[in-house]
Symmetry: C2
Subunit: 226 residues, 2 copies
Amino acid sequence: MKTLVIVAHPEFSNSSTQHFLKEAVDPYDDVTFHVLKTPLNVAHEKELVQSHDRLIFQFPFYWYSAPAILKAWIDDVLTDQSPNKELGLVVTIAVREAAYQAGGEIGFTVSELLRPYEALAKAKKWHFLPSLPIFKFAYMSDNEQLRLAIRYQRYCLQSADRRLLDRENWAIQELGRLVTETTDNHNRRRKALLESLLLELEDKKDERLELEALLQPFREEDLYGG
Amino acid sequence: MKTLVIVAHPEFSNSSTQHFLKEAVDPYDDVTFHVLKTPLNVAHEKELVQSHDRLIFQFPFYWYSAPAILKAWIDDVLTDQSPNKELGLVVTIAVREAAYQAGGEIGFTVSELLRPYEALAKAKKWHFLPSLPIFKFAYMSDNEQLRLAIRYQRYCLQSADRRLLDRENWAIQELGRLVTETTDNHNRRRKALLESLLLELEDKKDERLELEALLQPFREEDLYGG
């Protein structure tokens, strides 16, 4: 599966969030991290769409939707049939999550505000993935940022129908890789964090597998659904 | 009250709907019909916002939101405080109304898809007016088009708290003016339609006033609310 991350950010070079996300998927050949620039080369953009299976619109929430350049891209590039795509949204949001609810400061959920993209996917008969909103990145602890990096990699790379076990193995494998790669002395703190996350995850997996073995006799079907 | 109609349409000059709407408010000095063009002169746009009380975003529904130029306008122009505005939306839609419902072809209501604009108004503490969606203008009869013209004029000109009686008088007055102004021989059909609409409306008003007089003794408060 090939994934095209379509980044709409008028100040990409100043965005630490965007650089963090870019770095998280840099090692993966199956992910094309594509920052939109004006003027759009429509023919080239169409080729990019054709040659990828999953499209991810990635943008900061500006007045509850994407910056204008993404709308220009949608209107100008998505004019042809392109069957069998998946569409995901990675939205960076500077406001705390609790503001996005009925009675909250914003008054609407992020899902409600993203309906136009959901309707686009529906019209195109594309599979619309659960969105990945990123709230207040600047206030995240190192630990939270690492968890986000793993989650984002999965969002870009993992097929939509993967089961819990696959997700678990994926995370363990990726964390192991990151631990191995983190050798620089400046990253000692990061390495320690990665190692503790990895141990935590392996513990959780053991615990879960024990529980699963205990439950197995009582269940006909696979515990994790079909 | 001064109204700024902010029109976002990449092919304005080819749009018969937009020309129809422009013509409907041409006689009114209190309405500024403003077609967006790139590049935006942000300072001038900000002045326009400051000097009007009601802002109306008017656009064709492209993939369930406005064309990119309106998003650029929102992101670039609405950077300052501008208290006490009203925000209305006039959205032209090429698909039939029934498609916009749960289980319908689009699967979402127009109101759901317009949430980002509602959230914008909420964040700005502006009064968000009920939207005016215009479905399948090209298929409207002359009669329907005339009703739309009156409705659109009210949408641009009438204050949001006007009562039924005011709306009635407004429509009668405007229809009367249109009948008087329609002298060209080419418009005989239009004039006949206007006259029949006017008679219908005056009949309805008489009927309503009779009913109101009958009901008055039974009611303490004004029939049309405070």
